[in-house]
């Protein structure tokens, strides 16, 4: 299958200044990531907050400049292109952000917000613009009478629909969705997810779907990449990753999904303690070892490489052959199924 996006050994660090006497230090938000996106698929990126998944999304769209590594979009190297030379990429990509009220200009009404992508990319004819706006409104399920409103005059769900319409206004190939549902009500979340799936089918879109919610990923993604502390720990097709989970971090990630059952015993859960490590001084060896219940000598010293542990199932863990997590995994999905 043809790759739309290829990312090789991508790194991005942000410089933080430490006051007058403090040393400035590097925050390594993304620290050596390889991935690819097939045309028309949805790649899910999961991880807890601060693991670098948002930075990764912005890097892929070249909204920020990588520190090192390589990004290809449709076989064109976009790693070091200047803003002016990226205009074609802006036309072929879109982005939807987590908080729709923050991602829409508060002083721009819906009509202007939707008009801008067309104007920027040289569509000046008023009738064409009007037709396109109406067509998009219908696609995302909004009414024409909302066009003159300002973002604060419509609901959160409607705001997110506007943001989605803006992102797909120019028929892009790739849309990066950065937690598009996590600031919405649960009832609206499902609507937006279904809308996104429908749009993908209709417009043949490729999604990079960033979220911390594995249950949402299961619903939308074809493949999933699990990130931790700027690195990829596990990646596989959705069914394989969730049915045959191998990395302890991935299990802990979906095991932390709240299950509304008061009789559920905590022993049925696989929960790790501690907090995500500092991105300035990441732990030596495996980055997950301070929180991993199975960690031992080697984990603390040698950083595991991403290897193919099963067919198309990549994993960065020294101990996957010794530990058995399948009991937890099976029990968890059984519980989830019983709820549905």
């Amino acid at each position: 299958m043809e790759h739309l996006v290829e990312v090789q050994d991508l790194k991005k660090s942000f410089l933080t200044k430490g006051g007058i006497f403090g040393k400035s230090s590097d925050v390594k938000a993304v620290d050596g990531v390889d991935l690819y996106l097939n045309k028309g698929e949805t790649l899910g990126v999961v991880g807890e907050s601060g693991c670098g998944k948002t930075t990764l999304g912005r890097l892929v769209l070249r909204l920020i400049k990588p520190t090192s590594g390589k990004i290809n979009f449709d076989e064109v190297d976009i790693t070091n292109l200047s803003e002016r030379k990226l205009l074609w990429l802006r036309k072929r990509t879109g982005m939807v952000f987590q908080d729709p009220s923050a991602s829409l200009n508060p002083r721009m009404n819906i009509r202007s917000t939707l008009k801008r992508p067309l104007v920027v990319h040289g569509i000046k004819d008023k009738n064409t613009i009007q037709k396109r706006i109406i067509e998009m409104l219908e696609k995302v399920g909004l009414n024409e009478d909302q066009l003159e409103r300002f973002p604060h005059q419509i609901s959160g769900g409607q705001q997110q629909r506007v943001a989605i319409a803006r992102a797909i206004m120019l028929n892009p190939d790739l849309v990066v969705l950065d937690e598009p549902t996590s600031s919405l009500d649960v009832s609206v979340q499902a609507q937006i997810l279904n809308l996104l799936l429908k749009l993908q089918r209709d417009l043949n879109l490729t999604y990079l779907f960033i979220t911390h919610d594995l249950v949402v990923e299961r619903h939308v993604s074809d493949r999933i990449v699990v990130m931790y502390c700027g690195k990829i720990l596990e990646s596989a097709d959705t069914d394989e990753l969730l049915g045959n989970t191998m990395h302890p971090y991935t299990v802990s990630l979906f095991s932390s999904t709240p299950i509304p059952n008061p009789h559920l015993k905590s022993t049925n859960r696989f929960i790790v303690g501690g907090e995500p490590p500092s991105l300035i001084h990441p732990p030596r060896g495996c980055r997950f070892h301070p929180r991993c219940p199975y960690a031992e000598g080697k984990c603390k010293k040698v950083e595991p490489k991403l290897v193919e542990a099963a067919k198309d199932h990549f994993l960065a863990c020294h101990k996957f052959e010794e530990i058995d997590l399948l009991t937890y995994v099976k029990r968890f999905w059984k519980l989830m199924e019983r709820l549905n």
């Binding site: 909204l63 205009l87 200009n105 508060p106």
Partner: protein
């Protein structure tokens, strides 16, 4: 926010309502000066010099026998005109520099900030006096001098707003659809700063009026017989003991006008942007 909403809030809020009414009254006086003033501001009647206020001549006359009321009324025009002009020029300079400093950051930001702080650190009247000695006295020169020394608050406020707005997601969203820097500044950032600029303008207008009167009082501004309030104050100061009305009435008008703009500015700040603190 729609203009009708702002107007409704403005008159529903006591501070800004009083301020707006004062400014409305002062502006009407300025517009209708020819109708309100019984005489022209430079009509000299030496026989009736230094007359105290009476029903015929409610603010009295000065030492040339000119009607103080007429001169105060015509002075409204100059005060408002000069005040507005000064504030507009200040805003133009200050906002321009603030936009550049806030958007581009880095070395340019540091240079602009240094110039801003240095200008701000010097006492404005002294600095304005220095400028006037260079370019000569007169009302236009006063406008230029004051605007040249009192733009720093605009730069500071605009820059601070830019720095925080720049990090908001809608700016990133604008970049993701391919907007140019110029479009991002003028279509996305500036519209979100305009309320703060308007508030700052109403709040700096009184000090602009006060500075012009101060310079005129010192003899650098309007030259006689222009009915400038500051110039009238300084002429009246010589006769303060025998004819206190000559200086008192322009003084009262200066205070009222400045107060009106201050009240309106305070009210507008609460209505448009409760978070703005100057």
């Amino acid at each position: 926010m729609k203009i009708s909403n702002i107007l409704r809030l403005m008159f529903g809020y006591r501070t800004s309502c009083i301020g707006a009414l004062i400014i409305l009254a002062v502006s009407s006086v300025a517009i209708a000066a020819d109708v309100i003033a019984p005489k022209h501001y430079s009509d000299v009647d030496i026989v009736k010099k230094l007359q105290p206020p009476s029903w015929k001549c409610i603010f009295g006359t000065d030492h040339y026998g000119r009607d103080v009321f007429s001169r105060v009324v015509y002075g409204t025009r100059i005060a408002l005109w000069v005040g507005l002009l000064v504030v507009l020029v200040e805003a133009l300079v200050g906002v321009g520099l603030g936009l550049i400093a806030g958007y581009y950051g880095g070395g340019l930001d540091k240079v602009i900030l240094a110039i801003t702080d240095m200008t701000w650190a010097l006492p404005p009247i002294v600095l304005a006096l220095g400028v006037i000695t260079l370019i000569g006295p007169g009302l236009t020169q006063v406008v230029a001098a004051i605007a040249l020394v009192s733009w720093p608050p605009f730069t500071r406020v605009v820059r601070a707003k830019m720095v925080s707005l720049k990090e908001r997601e809608f700016i990133l969203a604008a970049r993701s659809i391919g907007e140019s820097s110029l479009n991002i500044i003028f279509r996305y950032l500036l519209p979100n700063i305009v309320p703060s600029i308007i508030v700052l303008m109403t709040l700096t207008l009184p000090s602009a009026i006060l500075s012009t009167t101060a310079l005129s009082f010192l003899g650098f501004g309007a030259q006689p017989p222009t009915p400038d309030w500051g110039a009238m104050l300084s002429e009246g100061a010589a006769q303060l003991i025998i004819a206190p009305w000559i200086a008192t009435f322009p003084g009262i008008f200066i205070v009222i006008t400045a107060l009106g703009f201050n009240l309106l500015g305070d009210g507008l700040r609460d209505i448009l942007d409760p978070k703005l603190k100057i």
